[in-house]
């Protein structure tokens, strides 16, 4: 009886006070925060000169890490990584008493720091292109484009060649296999950088994701077409690569430019992160990410992953639905005692943690 309690939350319910803070409930401060974040993204993508005052102080560290002066992308990467690390510590203090969240958050923080910050910098320093081991097609489509693929594979540098094989293997082998074994969470809430930011800096805003039927419909209307578009663009690039055709090359190149502007810039950055305080932390992951679409199809069709429901203990309190960052109406399943298998679920496990009656269990065990 005198041993410390292994399952303690210092102040009781771990998410108390959430609904009382204007910056977390679309108050004026939330709009101000969203405006600042949105403007930052607009500057990073299209007006980097404005950020010079922030970029220059980083020249020293950029020289050290990458062997060249800083640019807006180095500023962005640095801030992004700092946000994941600092807010990751906050997430650990809030939910780290549960091992699932402790391990998950530590992995996300490490992947961001090592695979998405230090390693790419070191590769840049060694004269190779910046390469991210934690992003691949279709989230980072260019790694599968013929231009980079053929060039990298035939590179005399063993590491460069390895990187292209790595991208291919992750897409063809790891993605279906790991998704079959563990669901899309292996990527979306354990590895992905977008997920890392959502699970740390975005955690304060997860309850803002709409759980209405209308937003579920909207989700399906947008995310699958995005996946189809990038698949078609990639396929056309390869077709043109095999059968050179100048007119087609031009069309495909401009389609890819538009995709990069609308999806890669506007959607994933400006709206996806800038609008955290207004639309919740997973807008991009839920509505736009082609990787999430692909993993979702696999999760729904060929995966052991599900959320098991302890029938009848549900008290319909709404904690699960409220704190689902993907806007899944978890309660509607829990009330009926129905096992949850949804394409969008990223397996963050928060529904299970906030359930006061032990109704939900995220699992992929046979």
């Amino acid at each position: 009886m005198n041993q410390p309690i292994p399952i303690m939350i210092p102040k009781g319910a771990s998410r108390s006070g959430t609904m009382l803070r204007p910056w977390r409930t679309r108050g004026a401060s939330a709009y101000a925060l969203a405006l600042v974040m949105t403007l930052f993204y607009v500057c990073v993508y299209w007006f980097p000169g404005v950020l010079d005052v922030l970029v220059r102080p980083l020249d020293g560290s950029s020289q050290m890490l990458r062997g060249r002066v800083a640019d807006q992308w180095f500023l962005y990467g640095t801030l992004y990584t700092l946000a994941v690390l600092i807010m990751g510590v906050r997430m650990l203090r809030r939910d780290g008493h549960e091992r699932y969240h402790r391990y998950r958050t530590l992995v996300l923080m490490s992947v961001q720091l090592i695979a998405a910050y230090i390693l790419p910098s070191m590769l840049a320093r060694s004269g190779r292109g910046e390469f991210y081991f934690s992003y691949f097609w279709p989230l980072k489509p260019e790694v599968m484009f013929p231009s980079s693929m053929t060039q990298m594979m035939s590179s005399p540098d063993a590491l460069t060649a390895f990187m292209s094989w790595w991208s291919l293997a992750l897409l063809v082998i790891a993605t279906p296999l790991l998704t079959y074994l563990y669901g899309k969470r292996w990527y979306c809430s354990w590895v992905c950088g977008c997920g890392a930011l959502a699970e740390t800096a975005g955690d304060s805003f997860r309850h803002l994701s709409s759980s209405s039927d209308r937003s579920w419909k909207l989700e399906r209307m947008i995310i699958y077409p995005v996946f189809v578009i990038i698949t078609v663009i990639t396929a056309l690039l390869w077709y043109e690569h095999a059968n050179p055709h100048p007119a087609l090359a031009e069309i495909t190149a401009s389609a890819n430019r538009i995709y990069g502007f609308v999806i890669g810039g506007l959607f994933s950055g400006v709206i996806g992160v800038g609008f955290y305080p207004l639309l919740g932390s997973r807008v991009w992951c839920r509505f736009g990410c082609p990787m999430a679409a692909l993993l979702g199809i696999l999760q729904k069709g060929a995966s052991r992953f599900r959320i098991e429901v302890n029938p009848t203990q549900c008290i319909s309190c709404g904690n699960c639905t409220t704190y689902c960052e993907m806007g899944i109406d978890v309660r509607s399943y829990a009330e009926r005692g129905e096992t949850i298998k949804r394409a969008s679920c990223v397996g963050c496990g928060v529904c299970s943690s906030v359930c006061p009656r032990g109704v939900l269990k995220v699992t992929s065990r046979v």
């Binding site: 309690i5 399952i7 009781g12 319910a13 091992r99 709404g318 309660r331 032990g358």
Partner: protein, 417 residues
Amino acid sequence: MNVLIIGNGIAGTSCARMLRRLQPDHASCRITMISEEAPYHFSRPAMMYISTGQLTLEHTKPFADASWAQQGIALMHGRVTALDAVGRSCTLDDGRVLAADVMVLATGSVPSVPAHLDASLRGVVTYMQLADVQRLNDVMKGAHHAVIIGGGLIAAECAEIFACMMEDRDSSTITCVVREDGFYGNVLPDHESMIVTEHLRRHGVRVVTNTEAVRLVDVDGRVTMVELSNGTHLPADCVVVATGVRPNVELASAAGIRCDEGILTDASFRTDHPGVLAIGDCAQPPWGVRQLWYTGRLHGEHAARIVLGQAGAFTPTTDFNSAKFFDLDWSTYGMVPRSSDAANSRLLIDRDGVRCIRLAHNDAGCVVGIHALGVRLDQRVCEKWIGGRVHVQAAIADISSVIFDAEFTPSFNAVTA
């Protein structure tokens, strides 16, 4: 048919929703549900999360506001002042009279406040109805000495609310005055009750056991102290009386419907007046009053079938319940009596000294009840064991199959007591 449901808690709501599911034709089954408490049904067990700012009232509504009209369930927000049990009608506070073919009473519970405690003093509240969220919030403002009278589930909820929400937490005190040897001691066996008591203490809640509050001391109508049965006085500027609830029979008994502790019904929830049913907390069927949220739902769904002539007597199923003491989960299936001891139960305690599972058994050694603290149980396995009369030794040998904890939770390593 015209069905009038009085009360929109879980019993009334489950009845209304099930009626519509079984009889989708709006014209042939008109359903009206009246509530004084709230215009729309909300989840009462979630009330504490509104108080802690974890949820808003909107989040606690399981059904969208627009869905009621779609379902053809007419909602009325008002107070029923009188029932006519013979003519099957009710009078509202605005003078309107509503008539029905079938009247379902789902009036729930009211706080049971001992006569010697004056709950009308300023700074004193009960915590049951939606309006109590605001009342508790008001008395909590600026308070430094919160006293909770009672050692049950509402008391535990209020302790957590205070721990989360009192403004000047470092210089304030939270005290629970508990009549039994330990917290929730009228339900839990001694060992479990002690664990819960210790757990509350670790969260900074003072738990005074074996003690009753005998009087609330006031200055000019404002509570200042709680006088205890041991003669001492606790300073108090904020008091919650959480000494239990009793069935709300006021309307029914005024209308001449036969009542005892609750509204007396047969096993089909029929009162002594034809066409008048009573369900949920307020009902007293032959097996007695059951004031559980889950029971209310089962009653409501079954009553809908009875109203439509599709079912007969209700058979109570395996009991189950669950609660949370701060971050310590408790759930129970079947019967684990308070008096459980080594002769009629087996207690498995984890090496951490907190988590435990108790398996109650009959003389033949068959499992008749399971409950757990700090461990989530799989209801399907519990019911299989209890329903299948599995021997307690076999259950213990297979104990890992009943655990429903999150992935990576430290495994439960039992040291049998």
